[in-house]
Amino acid sequence: MADLLDVRNLKIGATAYPPGEPPQDITIVHGVSFTLEKGKVLGLIGESGAGKSTIGLAALAYGRGGVRITGGEVLLDGENILAFGGRGIRDVRGRRVCYVAQSAAAAFNPAHRLGDQVIEAALRHGVMSRSEAWERAKYLFSVLGLPDPDSFGQRYPHQVSGGQLQRAMTAMALCPGPELIVFDEPTTALDVTTQIDVLAAIKRAIEETHTAALYITHDLAVVAQISDDIMVLRHGNTVEYGPVQQIIEAPQEDYTRELVSVRQIQKQEAPEQSDAVIRIDGVDAAYSGHFKVLHDVSVHLPRGQTLAVVGESGSGKSTLARVITGLLPPSKGAVTFKGETLPPKFAERSKEQLRKIQMLYQMADTAMNPRQTVRDIVGRPLTFYFGLHGGEKTRRVAELLEQIEMGKGFIDRYPAELSGGQKQRVCIARALAAEPEVILCDEPTSALDPLVAAGILKLLMRLQKETQLSYLFITHDIATVRAIADSIAVMYQGRVVRFGPKSQVLSPPFDDYTDLLLKSVPEMRIGWLEEVLATRRMGSAGH
């Protein structure tokens, strides 16, 4: 059988504008080749900056924001679409090759009904009449498992959930009956329990319609469920390319092996002890007085240990951190720190009380002032809490940078000159500078690539061993929980549904929600998706 898509020696370049220097031409993708048969799925995987999205868009002969395709061929059914003119390429895009973006919420026009947007491309290209297109849209809605396929198209984007929107976008791509779809991280922004539904829907739809797909993601476990072949990319080069089985079970390259084993860090659970640094007793909390987010939450964090708070978005886990820091005073209950009750508002707490609880944010980008250098960012708590100045302060900042494995060469850099992992490390250094007893970590690794995230987790664990720090670690990722937690609190709709030592929480018998959550975490195993769908007890919470 002939290949539907044949990419040969694809080279992509762009122009970089380093500050204070003349513009330079750089190469983003250095000669990548692959083929894709009709009805098959190829997974493109790699960390950010690997060039996977750029390659995906090149399949539409498109370069985003100053990106240029500088060499090679993209053969669609034997024709090089890179050589097509404006009219020719418009005929390919949206009809023969379609695109599904990562953030469906941003990709839909909020002013138009979903149905009209789903059939727009098919009408525009004259593939089918309006009524035919509506019929096809309804059919696709039902294949994708959307509620009320007949009336779903009448809704506006804000009236459906994130998972449904992502499926609607898949319907939009499938509607004109394309030969190839490019999925650009379609489930990355979704909760695990929702991700599994979307994943299953996409898989079923691809099988039903015999469409070929490029599936771009950074999560090897996800791509293992849906692809036939996998291509591992790094810095615009192919690291490894082969059938799923081979990549997952017998990876040849070191980098692939690292990716496969990244989720296997396990922390030995510390023995239970009653000496709690932070104790939360029967806390209720509400936003603007009436919208209640936390219901009777009671957990405690033993000294020198890690309590993982797990749950999907909207479960109230970040709100819990806001209550502890005093940003959101609880309407009932209290937070005690080493036996003394903390004032509910942070403004009423003493400097010492503030110092001992530090915070780590999900987005290190916005957690640091972009106009301050690393020296100022890390040095400020030293001046503020301990009155350090001049050489003494510089010495201590250098020490802290050493502690987070970065070295003092970074001391005069601005946040914009750091990578994502380095930024998070500087945030850790800033927290450490205050010499806290507790660090509240609000998903500090979820915006990072898996290998970088693993580095951050290892660093946090090392610091805990050295300095007896306690962490309250908020996350939605079970693999992270396994890696760092001593005890776990599972949250669902503002309530703690399960709380206890890790071994106890993660072993049966489970309550329904924990069961669903644990089963939704993609495993690095072929056929996992089918198994799970067959045995699920509780419908996804995302609806």
């Binding site: 204070g20 942070f346 110092r355 915070m359 916005t366 972009p370 503020f384 601005y414 914009a416």
Partner: protein, 275 residues
């Protein structure tokens, strides 16, 4: 800072501002004649002893222009700086404190803005004694309402960022948050506004002088010179256009420099990546 990195447009702006400042500072030495000295016939053409000709009373126009730079730049600059200090302080306080303070200050600002600036200024200046510092103060207060609007809008954007939350949780005082966390991140729009406001201040002062409530004759100021010579336009005498050109030139020069400063403050290094 590298001198080479300064673009040509900024050099032109800097040169223009420097020329105006030199005129203002060294007026008695540069000007060929005195400020109030009647030296010839009225509305003499350009050339000869009088490079730009004479004005409606027979005073040397170039000398009037050079002396006028003194008052115009001083008053406009003082008023702009004052209005920025006032507007930025109040607006940032409103944004950081929030709640009733914010409501109070913002509504008061709306109230001030509801009254047309020129009419407000005319009434206030007509009632108060005619002194320079009162003029500066009135211009500053009226202008600060515009600065407040902008300042609050940009500061609210920054106050919700996590690094500000982190500073609050550290226990930092309000002044630190305003000046160290928020101000550096709002500098670009504020600088752009500064250039614009300075130009407006020059124009506003000129308007007031033109209407007789600004700088009082016989003291020279650019707006006043336009007013003095406006009747000449009917007879084809360009004396009124020259100070007008000076006002426009200064406004453009200031904005050229501000544009360049804005590029610098919003560049990638230490910026928010929008350069």
């Amino acid at each position: 800072m590298k001198w080479r990195a300064i673009p040509l447009s900024a050099w032109i702006g800097l040169a223009g501002i420097a020329a105006a400042l030199i005129c203002a500072l060294f007026a008695p030495w540069i000007a060929p004649f005195g400020e109030r000295e009647v030296v010839g016939d009225i509305w003499l053409p350009m050339g000869g002893d009088f490079i730009l000709g004479t004005d409606n009373l027979g005073r040397d126009l170039l000398s009037r222009l050079i002396y006028g730079a003194q008052t115009t730049i001083f008053v406009a600059l003082a008023a702009t700086i004052l209005s920025f200090s006032l507007g930025v302080m109040l607006s940032f306080t409103a944004a950081v404190v929030g709640g009733w303070t914010d409501q109070g200050l913002s509504r008061l600002n709306d109230l001030m803005m509801a009254i047309p600036t020129l009419i407000f200024a005319l009434i206030v200046l007509a009632v108060l004694p005619q002194e320079l510092w009162i003029l500066v103060l009135v211009m500053a207060v009226l202008d600060s309402t515009r600065v407040f609007r902008l300042g609050r809008a940009v500061a609210v954007d920054v106050t919700v960022m996590e690094f500000v939350e982190a500073a609050r949780l550290r226990g930092e005082g309000r002044m630190w948050i305003i000046f160290r966390e928020i101000l550096p991140n709002t500098l670009s729009p504020l600088l752009a506004e500064f250039g614009l406001r300075f130009a407006f201040a020059v124009l506003f002062l000129s308007t007031l002088s033109f209407l007789g409530l600004g700088i009082q004759p016989p003291e020279a100021d650019w707006g006043g010179i336009v007013k003095d010579n406006k009747d000449g336009i009917i007879f084809g005498i360009p004396a009124a256009l020259i100070p007008g050109g000076a006002i426009a030139g200064l406004a453009i020069c200031v904005n050229l420099v501000v544009d360049w400063l804005m590029n610098r403050t919003s560049s990638l290094k230490g910026g928010r990546g929008d350069g």
